[in-house]
Every structure is written in structure tokens, then in C-alpha cells.
């Protein structure tokens, strides 16, 4: 069996599962946010079930439209807060404690290897970086999981990505996944598990792995997953809240496809509007002049991303014709960035620095685009209207290209500003 099949089998108490089979699995963690949990909570209340299946294992993170963006959003967050209080849910993270959910859960040790994590948010697949089975589901699935502790799933086929070679300077996990989605398309992994293997994996930091797994959904994947190794152990050992288990694929596990990726050949990538699959070499984007730069999100709001941005922006000013918004993804990341002097670099450069929020990534708040405006963002989607007006455009990239672009005003390779 593959690692994905093993985790699913373990969670439905079967010796073996096969791709295509429908199973009902026990859930280790069930997650919701301020957009998706209100629907789930209403359905839970209407169901007549009195208590959630495990008050330690339901996680509520108001991150999308927070700090409360308007009255309606405040009311949605209140629904979560009231429910958390009534159910004595330990893992409700209010403003001042919270972070963007898919940066917060690994940091807090809530996402751990071998666990089965479902979340009413499509980027729940992020936690596969830690060797968990993690998949995005809907609000009704969340309601059902809160009531029963279970989720229905179809066992996916797995695609094996074999990563070889080593990253060029300024290239990180985000560039690798944009490149992969560019190759296979936004439905290239539809319903499938994306298993990331190969000799290059050991050179990928946990932050890079989290970025890669985060965007499995952008290829249509059910989950993205890495096999736990020393880097994983190092990351989880002092923070794990739950018991964890390391699984790995058998040598004779079956895959529907094997795809070799030589990461040495990957230059910094930019995905053009309006699909993440429109990935090109950054040099092909040099004519694009932008109005806004966003560095943050569950894809790239972590300390390594801010480190790269700070290295590039240090001692420089952002272009006067654009706005730069930098959003550390959790309070701990914000504080660490402060300690290291990054926030001062960003403010001195003329960037706006925000408390953690999903904000502009989904066109919520904290940096919306007007008609005709263009943004480059370290986020994960560039659909029509994603960051604001339906006639605005979003280009996706890693933090290095975003920071370089903030200085020049047109989409740039970091070499252009780091002489």
C-alpha cells in the first residue's frame, strides 16, 4: 500500500484498502474557520447531537475575515466563539492567539504524522507535509465529523512525484509546486494523492514542504503527502499535541503515474492569471507592472518566507507606484520576525505589515484590488476576481520574486535587485 492507503486503512480499522474503495474513517482532527464553520455548527445543532465527538480534536480558527471585517463577519465569528464555549472546545484561537489556520496547526503541534485530518477549507491538504492524511471537505462533512468523529472518503489513486537535483538560488517549495501544477494542469491530479518523494526531498525544509503540500488542491489533488524523515521528527518532537505515527509506502505500492521532476532546472516561477497552471519562468513576466504586492498566506507566510523578503528588501524602498502588504501567518511568526528585525526592514522599505489574517488572498479585506489593477502575491489562487474586482489580475509567485517586484515595480528575478 502507499502511505496514503496505509493511513486510511489504519483509520477505518482494515488490514488493507484499495484505490477506488469507499471507506468511513475515524477523524483525528476536524477543522473549520469563520467562513465554513457557521454552516457546520448550524447543522450540528439541528441534528440533535449534544456534544462534539472529542472537544480536544475539533479546531476552530477564525482567520479569513478577521479581525472582524464587518458586522456580518463579526456575527459569523461569534457563532464559532459561542459554540466553542458551549462545547468546551480547547482549540478555538481568537484574535491575538490565532494565525492563518494552515500555518497555525503545524506550529501548535495539532497536525502530526500519521493522523487523519479533515478541514472545511480546501488548503487543509497542507498538513500532508508532515506525513498526515489531510484533505479539504465541506461544512456538512465538518458537521458530520463533529457529531460522529467520522468522514466518508474514496481511497485515491496515488501519483508519485520523484524530486531530484537541487534548488537554484532564490527557488523554494512554492516554485517547485507552481512548476508541477504548470506541467500537469489544474485537474492533473484530480481525485488523486500527490506523493512527493525522491532524493531532493531531504533538502526541502518543513516550510518548503508545507508550501508544496498546500497547493495539492490546485492540481485537483485529494491530498499531498511527504514521508516523515529526520526533518519531520525534528519539527514535531517537541510540539506534538497528539500521538503520532510515521508511515511510508511499501516498495511494491502501486501508483497510477510516476513523474520525475529535476528541480535543478526550475527557475523562480510566476503563474499568470487566471489559473495556477499558467506557470512560467519569471523572466517571461518582466513586462508586467503591478499595483500591489502581497507576501503572506497559508502558502508563504512563514518565517523562511519573511526571511527571504527581508534579505531582499533590507536597506531598499518599495516602488512608489505600488502598495506592499506583508502578513506574517501566525503570532509566533510575527514575533520572531520582530525579534529578527524583519518588521523594521519592511516598514522602513515602505511596506504595510499586518496582524495574521487570510485577508487579501481570497478578496476578503486588507488589500483588495480595484478594476484594472494587478497584484503579485505569494498566495495560492489567481482565479477571476480572487483578490477583488473581477477585472483585476493576480500573478502568483514565491516570496523572493514578490519582494524583488516590490522594489522594481515590474515582475522581477531577485538577481535584478541583489547585485
Amino acid at each position: 500500500m502507499t502511505i496514503t492507503e496505509k493511513i486510511l486503512a489504519a483509520h477505518c480499522e482494515k488490514e488493507e484498502v484499495k484505490a477506488g474503495e469507499f471507506v468511513e474513517c475515524n477523524v483525528d482532527v476536524a477543522l473549520g474557520n469563520d467562513i465554513t464553520a457557521p454552516i457546520a455548527i448550524k447543522q450540528f445543532r439541528d441534528s440533535g447531537v449534544k456534544e462534539v465527538f472529542d472537544k480536544k480534536r475539533v479546531v476552530l480558527v477564525p482567520d479569513h475575515f478577521t479581525p472582524n471585517k464587518d458586522i456580518k463577519s463579526a456575527e459569523q465569528v461569534k457563532i464559532l466563539r459561542d459554540f466553542a464555549k458551549e462545547q468546551k472546545i480547547e482549540n478555538f484561537f481568537k484574535i491575538g492567539e490565532m494565525g492563518v489556520e494552515h500555518a497555525l496547526l503545524p506550529e501548535k503541534g495539532i497536525a502530526v504524522p500519521g493522523n487523519l485530518i479533515i478541514g472545511a477549507d480546501s488548503h487543509t491538504c497542507t498538513y500532508g507535509a508532515l506525513g498526515a492524511f489531510a484533505s479539504g471537505v465541506g461544512s456538512t462533512d465538518l458537521a458530520y465529523a463533529m457529531a460522529t468523529g467520522k468522514v466518508w472518503l474514496k481511497v485515491p489513486e496515488s501519483i508519485k512525484f520523484v524530486l531530484e537535483g537541487s534548488m537554484q538560488e532564490w527557488v523554494s517549495g512554492k516554485d517547485i509546486i507552481l512548476y508541477i501544477i504548470g506541467k500537469i494542469g489544474v485537474s492533473g491530479a484530480l481525485y488523486k494523492a500527490m506523493e512527493f518523494t525522491g532524493p531532493a526531498v531531504s533538502s526541502l525544509s518543513m516550510d518548503s514542504r508545507l508550501s508544496i503540500a498546500n497547493m495539492a488542491i490546485e492540481a485537483g489533488g485529494k491530498n499531498g503527502i511527504f514521508t516523515p524523515d529526520e526533518i519531520t521528527e525534528d519539527y514535531v518532537k517537541d510540539r506534538a499535541r497528539f500521538e503520532y505515527k510515521n508511515y511510508k509506502s511499501d516498495n511494491d505500492a502501486e501508483y497510477c503515474e510516476d513523474i520525475k521532476i529535476d528541480i535543478s532546472g526550475i527557475a523562480p516561477q510566476v503563474s499568470f492569471p487566471h489559473l495556477p497552471e499558467n506557470a512560467k519562468d519569471v523572466k517571461d513576466a518582466s513586462s508586467i507592472v503591478v499595483d500591489q504586492v502581497v507576501i503572506g498566506s497559508c502558502t508563504n507566510g512563514r518565517i523562511e518566507d519573511l526571511e527571504v523578503a527581508a534579505r531582499i528588501l533590507k536597506g531598499k524602498k518599495v516602488n512608489p507606484n505600488l502598495r506592499t502588504i506583508i502578513i506574517p501567518a501566525t503570532q509566533a511568526i510575527y514575533k520572531e520576525a520582530m525579534k529578527r528585525g524583519y518588521l523594521e526592514i519592511f516598514v522602513d522599505a515602505g511596506a504595510a505589515v499586518s496582524t495574521p489574517t487570510c485577508g487579501p488572498c481570497l478578496g476578503g479585506h486588507m488589500g483588495i484590488l480595484a478594476k484594472g489593477e494587478k497584484a503579485i502575491a505569494t498566495t495560492n489562487r489567481n482565479f477571476v476576481g480572487r483578490m477583488g474586482h473581477p477585472e483585476s489580475e493576480v500573478y502568483l509567485s514565491g516570496p523572493a520574486v514578490a519582494a524583488a517586484t516590490a522594489i522594481t515595480g515590474n515582475i522581477s528575478h531577485p538577481d535584478e535587485v541583489m547585485k
Binding site: S187, L190, L362, R381, V384
Partner: protein, 161 residues
């Protein structure tokens, strides 16, 4: 049971941000969401469609965000069924879970244009574009999915079980 309706054809990769843009996600009231169905895919859709009409998409319909607000909006607007060449997986499971009928029918999707008359026989698994005289069979849902659908959604299924 047969469903008849007029088709509205959309392109490939219609995503949930287009079906229900984020600016409307500060509510979960189905009636509110229904007012903005498909708005960023076709800003005029709300003015053109009628209850009982059918949405026909291409490949990967409903891709992107997990927002259940997308199928809720479609269902509450009165769309009777969604047909597509293929569905994105979270959108697909959300439709099953809330009892919005969906049909995967590639050939029908390819020939259909907006305005065509469609007939679906859900029990026997046949969908027909009557305007263009094209018929396609579609497979049954797996047994347990049928139970969820017959119960009218996942939470009803839970109450019954």
C-alpha cells in the same frame, strides 16, 4: 423521475470563487447566497435564468475553494441539476452532502449550448440534449452515496441511521 430544463453552458474550470465570490461569504443564509449565484462567471446570470434551469459545465466544474456556499447558492437559486464533463472533488462531495443532483456526462457537456432543452432520467441514468438529439448514459452512484442522496443529504442520512 425525470427532470426537464433549459441549459446554461459554462466553460471548463468554473471555480467556486466565480460561483459565489468571497465578498458574499460573510453570510451563510441560503436566500442571500442565492441572489449572487454564478455572479463572477456571468454577471448577468441572475437576470437571465429561471428556476428549474440546468447548469452545464465543462471539465473540473466547481474547482477551487471548499466553500459549500457554492452548491448552496446553486440549489437555493432553484437550479434543478448540474451537469459537467467532470467535477472537482470537494464540490462533488458537497453536492452529494446537501442533496443537489449532479451528473457527470462528458458528451452532453460537449454538445450543449445555452438555451438547449435537457431531460434527465435520474432513476435510469440517462441524460438527453433534446435540442441536439444526443443521449448519454451515466453510471449509478455507489450504494452508500445513493443512501445519502435518497435521505436528502448527509445529516439526514445520519439522523436516519
Amino acid at each position: 423521475m425525470k427532470i426537464n430544463g433549459k441549459a446554461w453552458k459554462f466553460s471548463d474550470n468554473i471555480n467556486t470563487d466565480e460561483i459565489i465570490p468571497a465578498r458574499y461569504l460573510n453570510t451563510s443564509d441560503p436566500a442571500e447566497l442565492a441572489k449572487h449565484c454564478m455572479e463572477d462567471a456571468d454577471p448577468d446570470f441572475m437576470n437571465k435564468y429561471q428556476k428549474g434551469d440546468i447548469i452545464v459545465g465543462g471539465v473540473n466544474f466547481g474547482c477551487g475553494s471548499s466553500r459549500e456556499h457554492a452548491p448552496i447558492s446553486i440549489k437555493e437559486a432553484g437550479i434543478s441539476v448540474v451537469i459537467a464533463s467532470s467535477f472537482a472533488r470537494i464540490f462533488f462531495r458537497n453536492c452529494i452532502n446537501i442533496g443537489l443532483p449532479i451528473v457527470e456526462a462528458d458528451e452532453i457537456s460537449k454538445v450543449t449550448q445555452s438555451g438547449d432543452e435537457i431531460e434527465i432520467d435520474l432513476a435510469n441514468g440517462i441524460v438527453e440534449n433534446k435540442t441536439r438529439s444526443v443521449k448519454q448514459e451515466f453510471p449509478e452512484f455507489p450504494a452508500f452515496m445513493q443512501k445519502i442522496i435518497n435521505a436528502g443529504g448527509l445529516m439526514n442520512f445520519m439522523k436516519i441511521s
